[in-house]
Point group: C2
């Protein structure tokens, strides 16, 4: 292994015990101090960020990405505010649950503990740096960050600022380390550092996540894409259905819990589709329709097979007419990305069937898919939305950054 990575790994391991034992009070104190320091050092951060932004512009980075990269005083204040919010959350670490006496007198329970060393691989968003640190630190984890080359100066400045504060607070600086070499080779090696890193979390687009899932030998928490559906059942309140679809499609189009596809029961297609289409088109949503829906929607285009599996992240929506709730469920389970799915219905049996049979992290009755979010679910913070089934599924708050260990109190028990 690359010597630099090896050193980082050893530093992280050495910091684990101190982090595991840090009291909640101390962790909160440090988070608040880091928040203050970020605001105080805003100009330093902005200067470093300027180098990245200038490089981005020289390399013709698209406007949207430049904007995501940009640090301003108010954005730095936002980062600091995020740290303060995490400080205010309950600390899940240390809780012991299910402690029970076994027939032989052993007292066995599960204690919630930090994961240990968390690796985070992300793209050109400097705010992830402070955000990921806050969540990992609050849960007693050590974090190693690997950000994109586009934001390297910004990330270095933020990490330096955090490490200085840790040092001032008498806490190991190695609670956070940044991999300054942003090459692909180093990233590939990082993903195989099983002896040092307990879990790897990719944060970014589809390509990044796919690369990490395919290359990593370290367990990965996959945060995924969302091809989210809304199915309008024959008993739906059609005004409610249209309101929910408008919200799920247009309230924010570039997010993973936005609606990408609508399924409509054939008995309500005539009443719903012309009205719905008009509202969508007023918001400049392009409609890609199957045959039955196309006939009812002036200005629609024909959907192709490819459309059903597509996460547009754009002002585009596919619409398909189905004959039953069973057909809707089968279509969703075939094409969805296991993120968020909704049924609009007033039929009890269909609502239960949909909740039971749709395979997704979050399944809704009569509500917008846009609620799949750590803040909306009441977790107070979010490290991402898991679309895999192991460990954590759906919005992940602080709990997802912990594990448990069995603790056993005996008085001399041996196994017969």
């Amino acid at each position: 292994m690359n010597e630099m990575l090896n050193r980082l790994g050893m530093n992280a391991k050495a910091a684990e015990t101190e982090m595991r034992n840090l009291s909640t009070n101390k962790k909160n104190e440090v988070l608040l101090a880091v928040a203050d320091k970020l605001v105080k050092d805003a100009q330093t951060l902005i200067n470093a960020n300027r180098l990245d932004v200038e490089t981005g512009k020289r390399n013709h980075m698209p406007e949207g990405l430049i904007d995501r990269l940009l640090l301003t005083e108010s954005r730095i204040e936002g980062m600091a505010e995020g740290l303060r919010q995490v400080a205010a959350l309950d600390d899940p670490v240390g809780e012991v649950t299910g402690m029970k006496k076994r027939p032989n007198g052993l007292l066995i329970g599960q204690k919630r503990v930090p994961l240990g060393v968390i690796g985070i691989i992300y793209e050109a968003r400097p705010n992830v740096t402070a955000d990921a640190f806050a969540l990992c630190f609050k849960t007693g984890n050590v974090v190693i960050l690997k950000g994109g080359s586009d934001a390297i100066h910004s990330n270095e400045a933020i990490v330096n600022c955090i490490r200085e504060t840790l040092n001032e607070q008498g806490v190991t600086e190695d609670a956070i380390q940044l991999i300054s070499d942003t090459s692909r080779e180093t990233a590939a090696e990082f993903m195989k550092m099983n002896q040092y890193v307990d879990v790897l979390i990719p944060r970014g687009g589809r390509g990044l996540i796919k690369a990490v899932v395919e290359q990593s030998t370290i367990p990965v928490i996959e945060t995924g894409t969302g091809n989210c559906h809304i199915y309008v059942d024959e008993t739906a309140d059609l005004e409610m259905a249209a309101d929910i679809i408008m919200n799920a499609k247009t309230q924010r189009v570039g997010v993973c819990n936005a609606c990408e596809s609508v399924l409509v029961h054939k008995d309500v297609k005539d009443a719903l589709l012309p009205v719905l289409a008009k509202r969508l088109q007023e918001k400049h949503v392009e409609i890609r329709a199957d045959e039955a829906a196309y006939a009812l929607i002036p200005g629609a285009v024909h959907a192709t097979e490819e459309d059903w599996g597509k996460e547009y992240l754009d002002y585009i929506l596919s619409i398909k007419v189905v004959s039953s709730v069973e057909e809707a469920i089968a279509h969703i389970n075939k094409y969805n990305t296991k993120h968020s799915e909704a049924i609009i219905t007033n039929n009890y049996e269909h609502s239960q069937k949909f909740l039971d049979e749709v395979d997704a992290a979050a399944v809704y009755v009569n509500a917008s898919t846009r609620f799949t979010d750590g803040f909306e679910f009441g977790f107070g913070a979010e490290i991402g939305i898991s679309t895999q089934k192991l460990h954590a599924r759906g919005p992940m708050g602080l709990l997802a950054l912990t594990t448990t260990k069995y603790i056993i109190y005996g008085n001399g028990q041996v196994r017969p």
Copy 2:
């Protein structure tokens, strides 16, 4: 992808919904019917098994492995008994927890559901076939098995017997499928079938587990090896310490929760080591000792650096003298495999420190590490012992074969 694997994957996916909806009563009925059928078809299974055993003998398979491979009437009765025990366990699927009303009126809870399709890769133990089926079936999962070539005829016979029973019971046969091609290439392809398989569980030796962790792109539940330590603190009851060490080392040597290394506080080394060594040597345990322990143990050999990291699975034990509980913890966290660790002490502070700081799936005070086991922990069944930190840690019962999904009841909520 290999056409055969693709077909198996599609069959498995098609069976998912039926399995997800099977009632607990029906699942139990099927498990009992499979148990009866295995006993009834015992002679067919034994005939098939004879082919594997004869091939094994021709290929000079070691006696121990031949024995693990062999099916007898009483072993088949044992497999059937295992199925009946799983039928008697509580079904974790369907429980809804933490359902809470959000300020906007959304009712959000977590429902426990099957993982979906579970892949199991294992070695030449035909009993795993029935055992894995029982646990996966009880939790509503579809299972695809990939056994070793050494047991292929036995596995085929067992799977046929199960599929016939499923058919008789009116349940999809594809709840269980066996990959009949036992080549390495097929195994390698199987480990990358992310579109069909939700989780992969390797069951077998170190080499198999390592190969799966390194090659699989599907999330893996790693069941690991155990380099387990017992630390005897200066305040320990030395008779209790010796009893526990004897149990943990010699009650069964070939298992992952057996003790492989003993750490002794320097203040009790003189009182403990000669007595303990004599008892161990009476049981033919070879002792590999550091300098300080070597001086007290006639017949010991010198331990090398390599010994500290070794899982012997044999009548061998390493012994090291340490100066403090801190040194013991540091040694353990450096060399252990995160399985099971014990402290023998009468000091309150040291017991808590050990429980807090040792990084392992199960941490004991004053008891034998041999208790790390699904049955001993009261789960009634075990699919393995996880030494990783994601999803499940420690002995895994039925719960480890499930996941959750968020279910959300609304009445028209949209995101502001």
